[in-house]
Structure formats: C-alpha cells, structure tokens
C-alpha cells in the first residue's frame, strides 16, 4: 500500500489490484474516517477526499493504515441482470480483434460475472471488470461524437453501459433498455461500485 497526499484535499491510496481496492473500500464505506467526504474507488487506487477544515491527512492516513480490509469481500450491494441486444456497430470489429468472432464475443460477455470497479466519466457510468481476459480490446482510434444512451461497450479490461448520449471511444457491442441513470431512483446509478452484473441476451 502506498499513500499519496493530494495537497490538503485528499489521500490517494495505491493498492496492488482491484480486489484490494474493493476490500478496503468495503471497510471504509461502513466506517469512514472523520472528515472524509467522498470515497472514489478506481482500478488500483482509492481516493479519500477530505474536508481540510475537519481533519488532516495524518489522521486520515493513520485511519487507513489501521483499517482492516476484508479480503474477498466487496461492498454488499447485491447483483443484477442486464438484458442486452447484441447489435453494436463494432461487434464485428471486436470479433476480429479478439479472434473470437461475433458469436463467441457474445458468449464471453454473457458467460462471466462482471463487477463494477468504480464510476467515472459521467454520472452512473460504471467501469465493470470481468473474470476472463479474452474481451480486452483497445479503444477506437476515432472516438464517436455521439454514443446513444444504453449502448453496451468494451475498452481495455472494462465493459460499460453509457448512461446518456455522450461522446465516447469505446467499442459498441450492443444496447440495453436498462436505465443506467435515473434521478428519481435512490441511488440514481444502477451500476454502483461493487455490484455484480450478469449480462443476458435480450
């Protein structure tokens, strides 16, 4: 574990892998150190954003070092199924890039459990990591200026669902009618950190 201060606004904790991030996140979500206003899990870091008026980084660092991460545990936020129609414009390209062909891409996407590692990019945009690496593909050379809401896409080790129409450089493999972001829902994000996801063919 490495600790990096972000001036007096936060502490970036670097860990070995996502598993460790989620284990520490699970513990700190339940018992956040005094003065921590936000926890931002990412692929191999956890940011503790602090209120400098209420704490200092020494105290936050001490709390992190004394926290007892729960290996193998993740924030208990349950699991969901997301129905997907696999008709994305880049599906054929992904089939070629991975050497799997379209049908096996679909089977690989539906055939593994994905976990939301973290959110970012836009409200409700979750970065999901899987358990097999056959679907790892680069981003498109030319990002699209408009990706429709509900698009299901791949990039690097991640898959994701676009919560609203936005620009985007991920490879589109399909779309879902599931609503990734809904302000009238609590929480508004469907894909919260730690939630486990199965994609099923619609």
């Amino acid at each position: 574990m490495k600790l990096f201060p972000c001036a007096d606004q936060g502490l970036l904790v670097e860990l070995d892998d996502l598993e460790q991030v989620l284990a520490l996140y699970a513990e700190l979500v339940d018992t956040p150190p005094e003065g921590v206003v936000d926890l931002v899990p990412a692929a191999n870091t956890l940011l503790l954003r602090t209120d400098p008026a209420r704490t200092d980084l020494q105290r936050v660092a001490k709390a992190v070092l004394e926290a007892e991460p729960r290996p193998g545990t993740r924030p208990d936020v349950g699991h969901i199924e997301i129905p997907v129609t696999y008709d994305g414009e880049d599906l054929a390209d992904v089939g070629r890039l991975t050497g799997l062909g379209e049908r096996e891409v679909i089977e690989a996407h539906t055939g593994q459990e994905w976990t939301v590692a973290f959110c970012g990019f836009a409200p409700g945009f979750g970065y999901l990591v899987g358990t097999d690496d056959r679907l790892h593909v680069p981003r498109r050379d030319n990002p699209r200026t408009k990706v429709p809401a509900g698009a299901v896409a791949l990039a690097g080790e991640f898959t994701g669902v676009y919560p609203r129409e936005s620009p985007g450089g991920w490879q589109l493999i399909g779309h879902t009618t599931a609503t990734a972001w809904d302000l009238d829902r609590d929480p508004p994000a469907l894909l919260v950190p730690g939630i486990r996801v199965r994609f099923v063919e619609a």
Binding site: G10, P41, G120
Partner: protein
C-alpha cells in the same frame, strides 16, 4: 413569494450552493460555488444560511427584475451594480454590501474590475428545486438547473434569519495582476522529470480561453514526463494540476470529473482554490511549491 426575472444572463450565470459531497462513488462530483468563501460571504450579508443557493455570475452582464422587493448582496469579482426602480433615478451600488431592490426594479451588473466570478445572494436564497440535495448546476455532469437564460423566473425562498447589522464587508477584491498559487507535489509527481517540477514554478502560466467551471487550461512551460506508460484512471481532487500528453497543465475546478486518466503533477492548496477560481483568461498564474501541510505521512 418573490421571484427574480432574468432579463439578461450575461456570458454565463448559474445557480450554485455548496454542491453534492458524498456522491463521487456514483460518478457525481461535488460541484457548487467555484469561489466558496465569496458564496458564503454573500449569504451572510443578507442573513441567509451560509449554504443557501446564490447566482454565480461569470464576467458580469446579468440583469434581473425583482417581482417583489428583495435584499441582495454581491461578492467575489466586484461588478458595478445599478438599481433602476420605477419613477426613480438609477442608483449605483458597490459590491460587498447589502442592497435593497424594490418591487418592479431592475438590477444590472456591469463588467467586474477584477476577477471572474461574482456571487449574488438574495435574502431567502434562490429556491429552484433541489437535485440530489443540491441546487447547483454541474456543467460536467449535466445535473441541476439549466444556466440562466433571458425570460427565466427564479423563485426566492423565505428569509431564514434576521438581517445582519453589518451591511458592508471590507474584503479585498480578486487580484488584477499575476495570481500566486501554492502547490504541493501531486500523487504522480514522480512521473515527471525534476526539470518539469522546476519549470512549473520557474515561470508563469497564462490562463487560456479554454477555461470554465470544470477547469482551466494553462499555457506555459511544457512539463515533461519521466514515465510514459498509461495511468489507470484514478480519483481526482479540486485543485489538481493534471498533465495530458501536450505537457500543458489543466487546473481542475468545482465541476471537475471524478476520475482522470492523466498524471497529476501538483495540487493547489485548498485555501488558494478560491483565488484560482477568480483567474480570468489572459491573466497569468505563478505557482509556488510548498511542503505537504502537516509534514510527511510516514511520521
């Protein structure tokens, strides 16, 4: 209930309060007033709760008509303020004071003499509906009320407390010359050459026109990297100086994205972020490197 009718919105005026802390894990940043001390002061001058919603006015130009008499106060970038009441001579007011705007009168803000963002508090607060417990417009996430536009009507809330006896706050206006910001080495400072860290503080950076509530793109000495591998996206704080492959840093402000994929070379101390939020395009910023407050974390 009083309302404020927007006659002209100026270049950009938005409703802001303290924002949405605690939702970063869902991809929602804090947002809120870019210059928080000015936001709080404006509220105090009209007897509001410090966190009440105000109008953040970018580079003046706002004109409002009061439908019902209201007390207002302007802080941050000082704009000339003119109140025109029906059948009365126009009256001019200074910033940092509480001002009565009678029913039917218009309030017009000119261009600020220094600084970029002004905060117009109205007694009772701007009472647009909350979204995720805040009335702030988050330009990055597209959450909260739309930016002000001519014809819009803003509801004013009920006064929360007594009017303060102080009706003028003696504060310094934002710096018109170079802005000095204290920075601490960022979490990825070691991804840069030692020359880059010297360059960051050795000369000044110009605030470019490519600047908004999300962040300011700066132009100045190029910051060269010692490591060129890809950084996994990671959480970012307000005040982070992130460096894309161009080597020109971006200073992130209130509506910054929750995570970023480029290394952060340095972070502005929280106490200096309000000064950064008042920097105008064309103005120059000098960074001064200081030690992490409180010392080494390994102590």
């Amino acid at each position: 209930m009083c309302t404020l009718k927007v006659v002209a919105a100026g270049p950009l005026s938005t409703v802001q309060d303290r924002g949405r802390p605690g939702l970063a894990a869902l991809g929602v940043g804090q947002s809120g007033a870019a210059d928080r001390p000015s936001h709080r002061l404006a509220n105090r001058l009209v007897g509001n709760d410090e966190d009440a919603a105000v109008i953040e006015v970018t580079f003046g130009g706002l004109e409002l008509r009061a439908e019902g008499g209201v007390y207002v106060a302007l802080t941050g970038a000082p704009c000339p303020m003119v109140v025109r009441a029906p059948d009365e001579q126009p009256r001019t007011f200074a910033a940092y004071s509480a001002v009565w705007v009678p029913d039917g009168a218009t309030l017009s803000l000119g261009v600020p003499s220094s600084g970029l963002r002004s905060y117009l508090a109205v007694r009772g607060g701007i009472a647009v509906p909350e979204v995720l417990q805040s009335r702030s417009t988050d330009m990055m996430a597209g959450i909260g009320p739309d930016p002000l536009a001519a014809g819009m009507r803003l509801p004013v809330g009920a006064p929360a407390g007594n009017l303060p006896e102080t009706d003028l706050a003696p504060v310094c206006p934002p710096e018109a010359a170079d802005i000095v910001l204290r920075v601490v080495d960022g979490p990825r400072a070691d991804w840069f050459t030692e020359d880059a860290l010297d360059a960051l503080v050795g000369d000044s950076y110009k605030v470019t026109t490519d600047s908004n509530r999300v962040g300011m793109r700066l132009s100045g000495p190029e910051l060269t990297r010692s490591r060129t591998d890809e950084l996994s996206s990671e959480g970012m704080v307000c005040g982070a100086l992130q460096v894309p492959p161009t080597g020109q840093p971006t200073l992130f402000l209130a509506d910054h994205p929750v995570t970023g994929g480029y290394p952060v070379v340095a972070v502005v101390l929280s106490a200096d972020i309000p000064k950064a939020a008042q920097a105008r395009p064309g103005q120059r910023i000098r960074f001064v490197r200081v030690a992490t407050p409180g010392g080494d974390l390994d102590d």
